[in-house]
């Protein structure tokens, strides 16, 4: 059942800059949806319009069956987690947590009970008397989460809540948010530029670029069936490789006359020039000169990653990355042949960049 619906929601600033061009999105009750995109893509603006912190200049927002487009944040019943925590600096953790309860007139006896409850759930009980500035970044963000949780809002909005934290803290807090969301079944809209974070947390991912939604889908769908080159490159670490080729009846033919692939695995009958997309994990690196298919390239960089390696190679100006086992080593400058796995091949239109 749709709980939050955005219909052609747009934002144009007073100076004429368009931050969001008409976004349509339907979020089910209890769903965890992640807005993903590079900085400036309009994801934060969209989130802030849902919160009411930013006024939509077009379209409508429906929350739990009610149009809220022009309502102030206080009448939308949402919890918001800010990137920079936004804790009240002069109030103790206890008073910060009690603030939303005090605002809606919860009697102090019940306030105390609920503060203790939520503090225990979030693991900040021993910090209740501290001031925000005495806490680490991770703990401040925990308190901020607890504050967004305590009033039991119907919608959780999170603006890059993990963005400023250390890698280790980020991982553990991310898992924690996930668990809290599952436990309380709070519908959640979460903004990030980090695709790994998006993949770990989301039920569905919304990829945005230049103020528009480019694709909506489960993490698997976004990763395996990107609808455009942009999504294919943005999602995945590193993103998809792109190789210009010509599709013939015999297979995928490269500019130098070699074949990238003999038989066609892709799901289209279009013949002619295409862009072949292959994820790094679907590129095999071979040193066997007799290999008939594949792209000839020179190794330019070998990035050790512990459990694997990222091998960067150059094929006449075309830069490609292959993800290979950590034990497989190639010297810089070595000639290699990159052979794509048929299963991993995606085709894109060379002009529009859309998936074929």
């Amino acid at each position: 059942m749709t709980f939050l619906a955005l219909n052609a929601v747009a934002k144009t600033y007073a100076d004429g800059t368009i931050a969001v061009h008409g976004v349509d999105l339907a979020v089910d009750e209890g769903e965890f949806v992640v807005l993903l995109g590079p900085s400036g893509c309009g994801k934060t603006t969209t989130l802030r319009m849902v919160a009411g912190l930013e006024r939509a200049t077009g379209g409508s927002i429906q929350l739990a069956g009610k149009i809220v487009t022009d309502l102030p944040p206080s009448q939308r019943d949402v919890g918001f987690v800010f990137q920079f925590y936004a804790l009240y600096p002069h109030l103790t953790v206890r008073d910060n947590l009690a603030f939303p309860l005090e605002a809606v007139g919860v009697p102090w006896r019940e306030r105390a009970v609920r503060v203790n409850e939520v503090a225990a759930a979030v693991g900040v009980t021993e910090l209740l008397s501290a001031l925000p500035r005495q806490l680490s970044g991770g703990d401040q963000q925990r308190v901020s989460l607890a504050r967004a949780l305590i009033r039991r809002p119907r919608l959780w909005l999170m603006d890059e809540p993990l963005g400023t934290l250390d890698a280790a803290v980020r991982a553990s807090l991310g898992a924690f948010i996930h668990e809290q969301q599952r436990r309380h079944r709070v519908t959640t809209l979460f903004v990030t530029h980090d695709q790994e974070e998006a993949m770990q947390l989301a039920d569905r991912v919304v990829v945005m670029e230049a103020g528009r939604i480019r694709q909506v889908g489960t993490p698997t769908a976004i990763h395996d069936a990107p609808r455009s080159r942009f999504v294919a490159h943005f999602v995945g670490s590193p993103g998809m490789n792109f190789i210009p080729a010509t599709r013939t009846a015999q297979g995928l033919c490269l500019a130098d006359g070699r074949h990238l692939m003999i038989h066609n695995a892709a799901s289209t009958d279009v013949l002619g020039p295409v862009i072949v997309g292959v994820r790094p994990q679907w590129l095999q690196v071979s040193t066997d000169e007799s290999e008939k298919v594949g792209l000839v390239a020179t190794v330019v960089l070998d990035e050790y990653q512990g459990d694997h390696r990222l091998l960067h190679a150059d094929a006449e100006g075309l830069r490609l990355v292959a993800r290979i086992p950590a034990t497989q080593r190639h010297a810089l400058g070595a000639r290699v042949i990159l052979v794509p796995h048929a299963e991993g091949i995606r085709l894109f239109d060379p002009h529009s960049g859309a998936a074929l």
């Binding site: 590079p38 790994e196 512990g306």
Partner: protein, 245 residues
Amino acid sequence: MSDAVQSPVLVLGGVRVEFGRKSVLAGLDLTVGANELLIVLGATGAGKTTLLRTIAGLQTPIAGTVAIAGVDMTHAPPGLRDVALVFQNFSLYPGWSVRRNLAFPLRAPGRQLSDDVIDERVTWAARLLHIEGLLDKPAERLSGGQMQRVAIGRALVRRPRIFLFDEPLTNLDAKLREELRVELALLRRQLGIPMIYVTHDRSEALALADRIAVLAGGVIAQIGSSESVWNTPVTAAVAALLGRS
């Protein structure tokens, strides 16, 4: 690469730094070789930034020595050390063009470089960092990634003896971080200048490092190649820093 460093450029011996009663560096020894890229890993508050500041001369140790290129520099001011520091929060002069921002360190008093030399250096750095097209743009109109390139370029033009990086990519988008990491790796092969690079990103650490030094308890708890630190972390804490829990 073993612990015996060939032709060391930087040697720290028994360096101690304290803030009030708190000991941050407790007799730290470290040797960095010519052309080496050393990653410094450590938990928040382990003293990574203090270590860089001590090398740069922004922090004077209460004991121990800092030697650069064989000369004792323990008490030398930053200006004499010929090291460049790139911060997490890149600050450019707004209103100035990229070109002027890049040339600024070369126009410092006492540097007496001719305009031709300055021009040549700026162009060289811009080409290495792929920002030739931006040279005449005002700094405030750049994107985050472009700004950080210019900030690195500003350190580059001086051709310092040592590069110090303090989480230079942390404030960038994840995707951009990935791209700049690759560019830094390619760049540093062309430069041949030793780099000390502080980060908490394990991909960055593993991918860039010739050696990884793990800072804990005010000393180097472990030092070795990416492979050796990854495969045989000396403590659980080191394993956790590399995301192996």
